[in-house]
Symmetry: C2
Subunit: 159 residues, 2 copies
DNA sequence: GGTGAAACTTCTAATAA
DNA sequence: TTATTAGAAGTTTCACC
C-alpha cells in the first residue's frame, strides 16, 4: 500500500478534525488562512483516497456501565483453527478488538465488560470455543494512555 | 460512576452518529420521526452529561505508512516504578494505548509503527526505560476484529 | 419534555482566476 | 490548485404546545 502524500495544509485540517469532526470548515479555513471551499475540496480528496475512512463518537463507556477492560491471550490447539475461532469471537460483542499474533499467543483480544462477574462469563465463553486450548487474562487496572493524536502529530512531522 | 439512563431515542441517535458523526440532525430527525430541534437538544444533553466525550476521525494508518501493530507486555523491577515508566512511555508517540494490568505483565501497551525496523527501535526504547526489567512482544499479523458498534448495540439492548 | 418556523451558520458546487 | 460566490442545506433558538 502506497504511502500517501499530504502537505502541511492537509495535516492541519486532519489535526483539527481529529480533535473534533464537527469543526466547521469555515473555522478551519479561518485558522489556516484559506477559503472554506479549499478545505472542502481537500477533505473530499482525502476521503476519496481512503485516508479518511470515517468518523466516530468517543463515548464514555464507564458512564454507560461498562468499566471493565481486559486483554485475553488465546492459545489454540492447532493454528488452522484460527479462522473458525475468530468467527466465534466475532459473535461475542464484548470483544471489541482481536488480532492474530506471533509470539506467546495465537490470538489476542480485548474485552469490555460491566464488571468482574460479567467478564468471567465472557472469558468462559471464549474458553469454551472449540479449538481453544487455554487463555490467559490480563485485567486492566487503569487505562493510562489512549491517544492517537500524538501519533498523528508524529506522522505529520515524519513526512 | 452512575449508570446513565438513555431512552430508545437517545440510543438511535447515538447509533447513527457512531456510524458517522456528520450525519445531519435533519436526517436523524426524519428517520426517527422527531424534529431536528429535538435531536439537537438530546445530543447536547448527552454531551453535557459526558456520555459523548467527543468525536474523532478514523484514518487509514496503513495508507499513511504505518502498517505495523504490536502489543508489548512490560515487566517492571518494582511495582512502585509504574508511574515513572508510564510517564516515559507517554513520551513515545508510537505507543497509542497503555494499561496497568494484573496478571503476567505490569504494564501492557500497544504500538503502531512503520515496519519491523521501526518497531524494533521503539521496543528497544521501552526496554531502556529505568525500571523495566524486560518486555515481551506480540506482533499482530492481522487485525481481525475492531468494532465498537457491536458493543454499542449490545449496551443498548441490555438496558 | 416536544414542535415548527425563523434566523443564523455552514456546506457545496460552479465559475473564475 | 485555490478563491469567490450564491443557492442549498443544516443548526440552533424560541415562542408555544
Amino acid at each position: 500500500m502506497a504511502k500517501f502524500k499530504l502537505d502541511e495544509v492537509d495535516h492541519q485540517i486532519l489535526d483539527m478534525l481529529i480533535e473534533n469532526t464537527r469543526t466547521p470548515f469555515t473555522d478551519i479555513a479561518k485558522k489556516l488562512l484559506i477559503s472554506a471551499g479549499t478545505v472542502h475540496v481537500r477533505v473530499k480528496k482525502m476521503e476519496d483516497a481512503g485516508i479518511i475512512k470515517g468518523s466516530s463518537l468517543t463515548l464514555d463507556y464507564v458512564k454507560l456501565g461498562y468499566s471493565f477492560i481486559a486483554y485475553v491471550g488465546i492459545f489454540l490447539e492447532k493454528t488452522h483453527q484460527t479462522k473458525f475461532v475468530l468467527e466465534r469471537l466475532n459473535q461475542i460483542p464484548y470483544i471489541t478488538v482481536a488480532h492474530i499474533t506471533t509470539g506467546k499467543f495465537n490470538i489476542f483480544c480485548k474485552i469490555r465488560a460491566k464488571d468482574t462477574k460479567h467478564a468471567k462469563e465472557i472469558i468462559f465463553k471464549v474458553d469454551d470455543i472449540d479449538g481453544v486450548s487455554r487463555t490467559e487474562t490480563m485485567i486492566s487496572l487503569e487505562e493510562s494512555i489512549n491517544d492517537k493524536r500524538r501519533l498523528m502529530h508524529t506522522i505529520f512531522n515524519d513526512l
